[in-house]
């Protein structure tokens, strides 16, 4: 085995515990190559493809963040559109009112999201489970109505982001693309590092049984708070990228509940509680939308039904099914126990698929 993190001897057998397997290193190498291709894509890919991929990567980033929140921290948010909207409007504020370059104003949007997330947490954490979901929805609606009632933000009809349109297509599209790619990468890396850390163990313990986790010394409130604020800042960051991309912000669109619907469907179908699941889910969602949206919202209805079916009959989603069959993860998070027997090849004792939420 490639990276034993601990070995021990018990009786006649030697045991080894490892996280990654050799295949994971090949995949990491392939990942680096794919990343280089994606990072240089605006230089050779053409504007149309680049634009489409902005959509794809922003959705992926949002889905990863929702997955972190629900799949690991058990925070059932139906109000992420509130942070997306706040991000879009914060970008407008910093870019058009304060004259900061839009690509830098994106960072302020993320900070804005984190600042909104703190008092919002104090409120919605008083609620649990499904009621927390509606509570987050109320917060998002409240933010939408506040923005829609302010005259200087253009009210309900929205506002054009002048600073972004002045950039010109040849600067704006690649810039938005790199930010979108970066946001997806940040979401994945932050999720992975967080889950490999002490807080990650706490989160997984909390997801599986919050009472047991708390009695083992996990600070539930703090662990939930971390993920909530990270997700809030991340969604606001994505909201800012979307604003640059679309050039226009409207309260009804930026704070639309469909954002949350996309995230839920993507994560559930792909596989909740895994990093890879949302990637698969985003690809399915994106391909389906691009090929069938000319027939109206039927693709959306179909995805909703699929999400219901998956939740009831195959709650681990598509990727969960893959793990169950192969016991392999691209982003290894579980610790595998193997028996090192002298003379024979090390035989893996299947720890099975990690318990997925639901």
């Amino acid at each position: 085995m490639s990276t034993p993190i601990a070995t021990s001897v018990s009786g006649e057998k030697r045991y080894s515990v490892s996280v990654a397997s050799r295949t994971n290193f090949y995949i990491l190498a392939a990942g680096v190559i794919i990343f280089i291709i994606l990072a240089t894509l605006p230089l050779f890919g053409g504007t149309a493809l680049t634009r489409r991929l902005v959509d794809f990567f922003t959705l992926l980033a949002l889905a990863e963040l929702w997955n972190l929140m629900v799949g690991y921290a058990g925070l059932l948010s139906a109000g992420q559109q509130g942070f997306i909207g706040i991000g879009s409007y914060t970008l407008w504020l910093f870019a058009d009112k304060f004259g900061i370059h839009p690509f830098i104003a994106v960072i302020f949007a993320a900070i804005g999201g984190a600042i909104i997330a703190l008092p919002a947490a104090a409120l919605v954490f008083r609620l649990k489970g499904g009621y927390l979901a509606i509570g987050t929805w109320v917060i998002a609606e409240t933010l939408r109505l506040i923005v829609a009632n302010i005259k200087s933000t253009g009210g309900g009809s929205g506002i054009t982001i002048q600073a972004a349109s002045q950039l010109g297509t040849e600067t704006r599209v690649p810039g938005a693309y790199w930010w979108a790619l970066a946001s997806a990468l940040i979401a994945i890396v932050v999720t992975y590092l967080l889950l490999r850390s002490r807080t990650g163990l706490a989160l997984k313990a909390m997801r599986d049984n919050d009472l047991a986790a708390e009695s083992a010394g996990v600070n539930l409130w703090r662990s939930k708070m971390y993920t909530w604020v990270i997700a809030g800042a991340g969604c606001a960051l994505v909201g800012a990228i979307v604003a640059i991309h679309l050039l226009r912000v409207q309260p009804a669109a930026a704070f639309h509940i469909n954002w949350t619907a996309y995230l839920i469907f993507i994560t559930v179908i792909g596989g909740m509680g895994t990093i890879e699941g949302p990637v698969i889910g985003t690809i399915i969602f994106y391909v389906l939308r691009e090929t069938t949206s000319k027939y109206g919202t039927w693709y959306f209805i179909a995805l909703g039904i699929l999400a219901i079916v998956v939740t009831i009959w195959s709650p681990a989603g598509i990727y969960g099914y893959v793990i169950k069959k192969t016991n392999f993860m691209v982003f290894p998070l579980q610790r595998k126990l193997s028996v090192l027997d002298e003379g024979t090849a090390p035989a893996e004792i299947g720890t099975g698929a990690e318990k997925t939420a639901g």
Partner: protein
């Protein structure tokens, strides 16, 4: 609109919110399921009435009993066919499935009936009102909705406290394992609870269709108002839900009177948030389990 008039309209509006909230609360009480499709399920009765009135050509009021029966059956089958699989699996599955259902219903109604606003015709009662003085007039229809809320809550309490089925509801709510050991068919009880919840929202759903117009995307607001009424009033209390509805309704109409109609819903949310911050258990809470 005068202040007193705004307050009275708010109280009456509260009756409507209570009618919607009682259904949400009943489902949560018996099976600990927060039904995110509840708002959309209050829109369906209006469309069912629209179809019935379109076929039978009578006053929309007469369609209410038929719609109630249809929605009871819809609720029963929905629970047995889909939601019973979710109830035993906890919060995450419940939220995902009912949220998915909400999106499916809203978009399917839009595909089937277009996004345009529709109305139900019930003749003269739509505009009749009792004039108290030149500044205060109470519409018959809002008053009727409020009275229906009182009747529904009273009947529901009698049902819960006096009937064998009601006792089974309470038993399942308290401890579903123990209830099952006592020979109660929990799956049947949950299905009846969902049926009754949809039967109750049918009254408010159709009457609102008569009073104003409706369209497929109203569900989100209906769900949120029902939720706010439940939390303000305190979970598990029917009269608390009515109180919560009235507080929310008054916050909205008085808010509109003070700042203009664009602020109506926002003021309602703000009052809800203040109450959640200061008194998270609500005003008349019976249970604290969430």
């Amino acid at each position: 609109m005068d202040w007193l008039n705004a307050a009275v309209q708010g109280i009456l509006l509260g009756g409507l919110y209570a009618l919607f909230a009682v259904g949400l609360s009943l489902v949560f009480g018996t099976m600990r399921l927060v039904n995110l499709a509840h708002g959309d399920l209050t829109i369906i009765p209006a469309y069912v009435a629209l179809v019935i009135v379109g076929v039978a050509k009578f006053n929309a009021f007469y369609s209410i009993p038929i719609v109630m029966v249809i929605m009871f059956i819809v609720g029963y089958l929905l629970q047995r066919g889909v939601l019973n699989f979710v109830v035993v699996r906890g919060d995450i599955a419940g939220v995902i499935v009912t949220f998915g259902l909400s999106i499916v219903i809203a978009n399917a109604l839009q595909e089937g009936f277009t996004a345009n606003s529709q109305g139900l015709d019930a003749g003269k009662i739509e505009n009749l009102s009792i004039t108290i003085n030149e500044r205060l007039a109470i519409g018959w229809l809002p008053l009727l909705i409020f009275v229906m809320a009182l009747v529904v809550i009273t009947l529901l309490q009698l049902f819960m406290n006096r009937t064998k089925m009601g006792r089974a509801f309470r038993a399942v709510s308290d401890d579903q394992e123990a209830a099952r050991l006592m020979g109660i068919n929990t799956r049947h009880i949950w299905a009846v609870a969902m049926g009754v919840a949809l039967l109750i929202v049918s009254i408010g759903g159709v009457m609102m269709g008569i009073r104003t117009t409706f369209h497929p995307l109203l569900g989100a607001d209906r769900l949120i108002f029902a939720f706010e009424a439940v939390i303000i009033g305190g979970m598990g209390s029917s009269w608390g839900t009515l109180l919560g509805g009235v507080i929310l309704g008054m916050a909205q109409t008085l808010g509109a009177r003070a700042f203009g109609s664009a602020w109506q819903i926002l003021v309602g949310h703000v009052v809800f948030i203040i109450i959640l911050a200061l008194r998270p258990q609500g005003f008349l809470a019976k249970t604290v389990t969430a």
